[in-house]
């Protein structure tokens, strides 16, 4: 097992990708992702990795370039954030429909306007239905691990789908913190060479991304849906394999002191560890609080979520984005939908928080629990609220 080292997480992510024998990267820099782009281009320029770094003129071009190179059979990587991801938007469902196992890091950042640059999840949420596997990470170690694991999941013959890894911008990307970096030998052992399902090659010509009319479009959408749902089995297998090799285990849904909890909170991304501290404080006061952390956003882990929250009386779903004019936060509506058919289900509260980089100290999490516990008449259940908003 590797020695613990300290490094900025964005740089470490580029280092980890550098261990993955990539053939090509096309990354357009954007805050707070830029350090990934910069360090990866350093690794290529210094000859430390044998890959092509394509300096594209936009994120639209970056995604187009990795679609092309992945189609040609090259292991391809990109990374972006916020407006860059929005600019890639129209290409994301093409990458997944063409079943190209691209991997992409997203340094999550608020979407304009107003222009902001700091962390929330409003960039990834509009991409939810693009047909990508979507994973949220909690700390630096997980950012590195998932950056490596993503290639194996994406390129598995039963998956062949693009994967995005959501790394909270600044909160994670700009943090110098400790982690273990796998060695080149360990990664070589874990990650087999990329075997594409088809390649663009003159010796064996094929057509990719062909036109399809109404006679086939429905079947193609069904096939994509099944592919994404079936990917969960492989994701679980690959995470198990990682746990055996590296001793760090990952599950679609993690829980903390949740078994006997009466009130649960659900978080995604880097807020999980801070929320954990709030649970400890509440437990010390005799309050049966617990935490559920959602790691796998797509394919959505319905069974694991139901199992994790079935015994709670109240559930606080936290969201880092909003669906304007809709039912509340996107995670909230997903969880409600997952529980609709359950006979026994908790009352659900939704707090939209940490928008545009607003800091969330431990006291905010305990405050949410206290507010929900004080709602003895359950009047605020099934509603959403912008936590901490100035009235």
């Amino acid at each position: 097992m590797g020695k613990r080292i300290g490094m900025e997480v964005a740089v470490a992510v580029a280092e980890a990708v550098g261990l993955c024998n990539i053939d090509m990267a096309a990354v357009y820099p954007i805050t707070p992702q830029s350090h990934i782009a910069e360090h990866l281009s350093d690794l290529v320029a210094d000859g430390k990795i044998d890959a092509e770094f394509v300096t594209v003129e936009s994120e639209h071009s970056a995604m187009s370039a990795v679609i092309g190179s992945s189609g040609a059979g090259a292991r391809s990587y990109t990374a972006t954030s916020s407006q860059g991801l929005m600019y890639m938007h129209e290409l994301l469902p093409i990458a997944s429909a063409m079943r190209l196992p691209i991997t992409m890091a997203i340094a999550n950042r608020a979407v304009s306007g107003p222009l902001n640059i700091l962390n929330d999840h409003s960039d990834i949420m509009p991409q939810r239905d693009s047909g990508w596997i979507s994973i949220f990470v909690e700390n630096g170690q997980e950012s590195i691990d998932m950056s490596i694991i993503a290639f194996k999941i994406a390129e598995h013959k039963d998956v062949m789908l693009p994967v995005n890894i959501n790394i909270d911008g600044f909160q994670l990307t700009h943090m110098v913190e400790p982690f273990e970096m796998p060695t080149q030998e360990e990664v070589n052992k874990f990650l087999p060479p990329f075997v594409p399902h088809a390649t663009l090659h003159p010796a064996k010509p094929v057509t990719m991304g062909a036109f399809a009319m109404s006679d086939y479009f429905t079947e193609i959408m069904k096939a994509k849906d099944e592919a994404l749902k079936n990917s969960k089995k492989v994701i679980l297998e690959v995470w198990d394999e990682w746990a055996k090799l590296f001793g760090r285990s990952y599950k679609p849904v993690e829980t903390y002191k949740a078994d006997d909890a009466e009130v649960l909170m659900l978080t995604m991304g880097s807020m999980g560890e801070t929320a954990q501290m709030a649970i400890d404080e509440l437990r010390a006061k005799g309050i049966k609080a617990g935490l559920v952390k959602l790691r796998l956003w797509r394919p959505f882990p319905f069974e694991e979520i139901k199992a994790a929250i079935k015994n709670a009386k109240k559930l606080i779903v936290t969201d880092r984005a909003n669906s304007f004019g809709g039912p509340g936060g996107p995670v909230f509506s997903e969880i409600k939908s997952a529980l609709y058919a359950e006979v026994q289900r908790p009352l659900i509260y939704n707090y939209i928080y940490g928008l545009g980089g607003r800091d969330v100290p431990v006291g905010d999490f305990t405050g949410m629990f206290e507010k929900v516990l004080a709602d003895t008449a359950n009047k605020q259940a099934d509603t959403y609220e912008f936590w901490g908003v100035r009235e």
Binding site: A97, M98, R99, L100, M160, H197, A198, P205, V206, T207, M208, A210, A212, D215, Y216, T218, E219, I220, K222, A223, E226
Partner: protein, 92 residues
Amino acid sequence: MALKTWRELPIGCVVSEPGSASEYHTGSWRSQRPIWDNKKCIKCGICYVFCPEGCVQQTEDGFFVANMDYCKGCGICAHECWPRAIAMIEEG
């Protein structure tokens, strides 16, 4: 040909048979067809060059014909033919 089910689709809907678009006879769209008057034709080949479908072919005697499986009847050949050897006539 029976349409495939979703289970039968290749991964990513890759078309593994090159040139299979030639099975699609775009000539079925046509409402007019080009007719060559070889008495006026000077074998310059401008119809061959301009045909957007690439369906104009040169015969052994040097004159030109269109493959009616693919000719959409757009009339560009007739428009470009400066000796006016090509006329567009109604189908059917």
